[in-house]
Symmetry: C2
């Protein structure tokens, strides 16, 4: 191991006929002579030139797609095209065989659907190597962004007794014997005898706990798994996904939007700088894929252009009320081409409306603010009623091309009376959230926060079409394999 | 907001009578004149000097412990001791009151037990401010360490159908109506009708999935929550905790130990460099706490000294067999002072033995290797039987003073036949882990990995005594509050 050099580093080395050792997996083996070796450090394979006349035939036979090798040899400039250096092998050790009759990955194009079924092996393909290296960079960039700004990374609980946020249906967590659970006198399950002494579930958001941290540490962020037990079989939903949720004391909605826009640009820039090769590959992949689509469904911009465009343009900021006017007066609406026609203020925006605003009208990312109170969560700060009698809250959603909502946030309601009133109206039990309300009783202050769905971000930056392809082992209805 | 400066930055500013705005929470208010203001960016409070003769009495009354303020004033050199600068307030705005009759946190020492019950407010104390800032730094340092080495951060699933690892009892996850679950013809719960179409639980480790990533990307790490449904009411166990699990292709056990020791030193060094003030505070706190203990229970070294000591010394590496000899021949054992006497090879080491080795015998961190096969997991690489007929595996545990096991790892068994045989012996269903076994069928290679319990690391670096005090909202038997 100590002498092994990774392929990414090797490909950047000046060849001076030095001895090197590389380890990796065979992608292809041509003419009993050229091995394309990959070790996951980069999508570029290293060409190994085999001296087949002096290599044992039994060894040559075992150099098959998927086999693990240790190769020692001389690093030389390559005469072939596609690479600048190659290794002339002096010693090849087969670490692990891969029976070509049985190995599911062959050197040809496999469908994404097929690869999802062998998700334990799909890391070994160019596409998924690139996707998971980009995902890695985006995750680290998120941390670096917040660390540079003095935010404290807070691990909010995954198992929680509070089901009050109403962000979606939660999975139950229990340690009871389900076939024979203890019952109360009235015949209900007796959760007092469960592990935590009460009914618990998997968190749908770390926000409420995050606010507790912000009310002492000023700026915090979470980055952890969240869950929805919703039977959504779409390309945009997962039952288990990762969320980033910053909460900031003393931030108003404008500060909040500035931070969110800054974060998105920062992490996209980071990925472009650190994963240029992977993103170029994915951009190419997307263009290939789109060739099979009718002209009008193809993107105007390549993936790379789309990312650059995001970096170089301010996101368009407007209120929900302004957006409704635009949508109502759009030819799309007038010609009844929306599935859900926009008739009046108060309508919840559907994906088709969001995409119209982003992709057709503004042609750039859009931040919508000040949504109707009736369609938003209880903790959002209430605006004064406007001249038309409309009641809105200080919400903001960031809409991205091809993705729709990527960020949802708000200024939080810091006024105890307004908050309690809204909880009462929405039937949210105040006693369960006594600790949340305490932050409004003691040293309350204006504050804001948002949630960024990490997989949606990865989807955007990799140009993949299905959210199940940007998380290692996706969880969705009827699937928890691996 | 735009003009607000955080207190940590302000305290490092040269005072030139400039106008500044700060926002934070009142820690104390003395003589109607001196506010100690804290915003969580540092443990050091900012002194605000109030011109009480020209300040409204109604405002003065509302400057109470816990209240949120926005203060505008002039930054001047401080004449008082304990700070170099202070702010002469020209304007004080009360953002949020804090009724001193009701606010649970008073400017006095509260017990850790009491603070655990108000974990939503304990971030507002010096101790927990320091603990969670140190925790933040350690988490980021972990990421930075691996990123610098080209590892890919992998999010392994939290919900899993595989219960096979045997690392401990798992929580069940379900979306069934527990009061009225669907049953099969034989009267068992029908998990085919559950969300995932099968019984699922919360992961106890991401290792097995991590290995799948390493067999393509070479080096990966996880950093996520893991769970144990064990009724352990100790100061070292949580039902929900965060683990770091790197897996490395082509690493043998020595490489593995080097990486783990390197990681621990890197993150401790990072915390000492970035959180010196917090760690000094926690070191002081520990010394105070130990004053109430009998002399022989006090530490030889302060927290700071212990951390420096860890950085500056190689960890002691020895085999389990060597450790057993040391323990068997120790006066502790001979005088029967161990609760569990070491009589023969094969005994599982208890906490008292680990602590003896680390704290008494070697007086430094210890790495024990090559444990008896019988007491370790199925996936550890089997050694050849030794001359005494002992069967061991290539395991390694890192033992830390005051903590015991902080890292557990091994070289993994890459030989399919040996692995399957061991699974059969231990009754682990091979068909459930078909995907894991596939990595031994196709391109297997020597590889290694380990798990680092993140909270145990935080415990060590902060010098706290109870693991419930180093995670924001601890989960343990009969407790899932907040």
């Amino acid at each position: 191991m100590s002498d092994r050099i990774k392929i990414k580093a090797l490909l950047q080395t000046t060849p001076t006929e030095q001895q090197v050792n590389v380890k990796g997996w065979v992608r292809t083996f041509r003419n009993n002579q050229f091995i394309a070796l990959n070790d996951g450090s980069t999508n570029s394979n290293l060409q190994i030139v085999v001296d087949f006349e002096n290599t044992d035939a039994a060894i040559l036979k075992r150099i098959t797609t998927g086999a693990a090798l240790s190769v020692t040899g001389t690093l030389v400039a390559s005469l072939g095209k596609g690479q600048t250096v190659e290794v002339k092998a002096t010693q090849i050790e087969i670490l692990g065989d891969s029976d070509p009759e049985k190995y599911p990955l062959q050197p040809k194009k496999h469908s994404l659907e097929f690869l999802r079924e062998i998700a334990h092996l799909r890391f070994r393909t160019n596409t998924f190597g690139a996707v998971f290296r980009v995902r890695n960079s985006l995750a680290f960039a998120v941390h670096q962004f917040f660390q540079e700004r003095g935010f404290v990374y807070l691990h909010t609980p995954v198992i929680t007794a509070s089901d009050a946020e109403g962000a979606g249906e939660a999975f139950k967590v229990t340690n009871l014997d389900l076939n024979n659970p203890p019952k109360t006198e009235t015949g209900e399950i007796d959760f007092k005898q469960d592990f935590f002494g009460r009914a618990t579930n998997l968190t749908v958001s770390g926000q409420l706990e995050g606010e507790l941290g912000a009310m002492a540490l000023s700026d915090i962020y979470t980055f952890g798994p969240t869950f929805r037990a919703e039977n959504s079989n779409t390309t945009r939903h997962l039952a288990e996904f990762w969320m980033i949720e910053p909460e900031m004391a003393f931030y108003d909605l404008d500060d909040n939007m500035d931070l969110a826009e800054g974060l998105l640009k920062y992490v996209i820039k980071y990925a472009l700088e650190h994963n240029r090769e992977d993103i170029e590959f994915l951009s190419q992949r997307l263009q290939e894929e789109e060739k099979s689509k009718p002209q009008q469904e193809r993107s105007d911009m390549s993936l790379l252009e789309k990312l650059e465009f995001c970096l170089n343009n301010d996101f368009e900021r407007l209120t929900y009320t302004e957006a409704i006017e635009i949508l109502k007066n759009s030819t799309q609406n007038k010609k009844k081409k929306f599935q859900f026609l926009i008739e009046e203020w108060g309508a919840d925006l559907q994906s088709e409306h969001e995409r119209y605003l982003v992709e057709k009208h503004f042609k750039k990312p859009v931040i919508l603010t000040d949504y109707p109170k009736a369609i938003k969560a209880f903790y959002m700060r209430q605006n004064e009623q406007d001249a038309n009698g409309h009641e809105t809250v200080r919400a903001m959603d960031i809409l991205f091309p091809g993705i729709g909502e990527i960020v949802g946030g708000s200024q939080r309601e810091e006024r105890l009376d307004k908050l309690e009133q809204r909880m009462d109206e929405m039937g949210i039990p105040k006693e369960e959230l006594w600790w949340y309300l305490d932050t409004r009783r003691f040293g309350a202050c204006p504050h804001s926060g948002f949630g960024l769905g990490f997989e949606r971000l990865v989807l955007f930056v990799t140009g993949m079409g299905n959210i199940r392809d940007v998380i290692p082992f996706p969880r969705f209805p009827k699937n928890a394999e691996f």
